[in-house]
């Protein structure tokens, strides 16, 4: 049990997928201007990332490794993620319209969110077992959500301030993200 706690804390806070591993920066900058869009994106990512990580883990272990065709991993993973996103979108539209309305426009964007593919690859690289892969992916996804929501909160404040013209928008966004990343470095003492 202790091992899993360490895994959760290190994947969620210490090795935060965005602020320490540089993955998923595009949606992180792109959807963080308003709190609403940030929470929507965070929800969608948690949902898709967990599903994608589990499915790609199974495909890699039971299919690619047994058939000895690991060099097809990149192609296989991106196809799985792209079709999964499409499938999830259709499924939600049909059966849970309320959730679909909430996540709606963010779902297709996730295909090119490198954090999703990144977590799938990290799971394989670290040679996690099934339960470890599941725990790690949920924690990574929650870490992404946490960072995104915190960042959106800060950014809503920054807009109110007087930012010099050349620094506006993405530029000040990146500097703010840097400050947040600095705060996350403080978590290193936890484990």
């Amino acid at each position: 049990m202790g091992d899993y706690m360490v895994l959760i804390i290190s994947s969620m806070l210490i090795n935060n997928i965005t602020l320490a591993q540089y993955l998923g920066i595009c949606p992180f900058i792109g959807t963080s201007k308003k709190m609403e869009t940030a929470t929507g994106m965070a929800g969608a990512v948690v949902f898709v990332m967990t599903l994608a990580a589990i499915i790609t883990w199974c495909i890699d272990t039971y299919f690619l490794k047994t058939l000895d065709i690991e060099y097809l991993r990149t192609i296989a993973f991106i196809l799985v993620i792209a079709s999964l996103v499409q499938f999830v979108e259709m499924f939600l539209k049909k059966s849970i319209p309320a959730l679909y309305a909430g996540l709606g426009i963010f779902l297709p964007l996730i295909t090119t969110n490198c954090a999703v593919m990144g977590v799938c690859l990290i799971n394989i690289q670290e040679e996690y077992k099934f339960l470890e892969a599941l725990t790690a992916s949920i924690s990574y996804a929650l870490g992404f959500g946490l960072a995104l929501i915190l960042f959106a909160g800060v950014r809503e404040r920054v807009i109110l301030g007087r930012v010099p013209k050349p620094l506006q928008d993405t530029s000040i966004g990146l500097v703010t993200a840097g400050m947040l990343a600095l705060a996350f470095i403080g978590f290193r003492g936890l484990v």
Binding site: I122, I172, G178, A181, I185
Partner: protein, 197 residues
């Protein structure tokens, strides 16, 4: 559409230079720019994928049905990324290890898919090649610039050679994640100031 091939190439170097003008593909930009060597390696790998993907997409754009074009583009890109991955593993193993998962992640680099969709699928072969090469070289230049700043300040070296002499105290903040964000933010600001004039 009266642009010459030269103009298509040059626009990738300043007008639409990624990741400054097109704010796409930030993840590899931040992650691999700890040292100039990694920056150049990543830039060249991305350039190769961009040029090949643009070439194939512009050739096949008449055949691919428009409804499934994104999926087709992704498969084309993934194929070339696999080629790069295997080549690097064979000929530049150290670089392959340094770049880690960011090599397979070129697939989800929005720059490549963006160029395939926005340019190559609507243009002929030669302009598409020029566009891919221009954007690729632009991306390599930006990565080199960012990594030069970070390596200089963070390690006191440039391509492994000492710049400031042994008395220099490395500013290790720059090679960590927060330094990457802030460095890119400030460079973007400098680009904006120059661009305004």
């Amino acid at each position: 559409m009266a642009k010459t091939i030269g103009q298509e190439f040059v626009k990738g170097l300043w007008e639409e230079i990624p990741p400054f003008r097109l704010v796409l593909g930030l993840c590899p930009t931040l992650a691999v720019t700890k040292s100039v060597e990694n920056g150049i390696g990543m830039g060249l790998a991305t350039t190769f994928v961009l040029v090949c993907a643009n070439l194939l997409v512009s050739i096949l754009s008449g055949i691919i049905p428009s409804k499934i074009r994104i999926a087709c583009f992704i498969i084309i890109i993934a194929t070339f990324v696999t080629v790069v991955e295997l080549m690097m593993q064979a000929y530049a193993y150290q670089l392959f290890q340094n770049l880690g998962i960011f090599i397979p992640l070129i697939v989800v680099n929005c720059i490549v898919l963006g160029r395939a969709e926005a340019f190559a699928s609507k243009n002929r072969v030669i302009p598409s090649l020029a566009d891919g090469l221009g954007i690729g070289v632009g991306f390599t230049l930006s990565l080199t610039a960012i990594s030069a700043v970070r390596e200089c300040l963070g390690n006191g070296t440039l391509l492994g050679y000492s710049v400031f002499g042994p008395a220099f105290e490395p500013f290790s903040f720059m090679v960590e994640a927060p330094g990457a964000f802030i460095c890119l933010g400030l460079l973007l600001c400098i680009m904006n100031i120059i661009g305004q004039k």
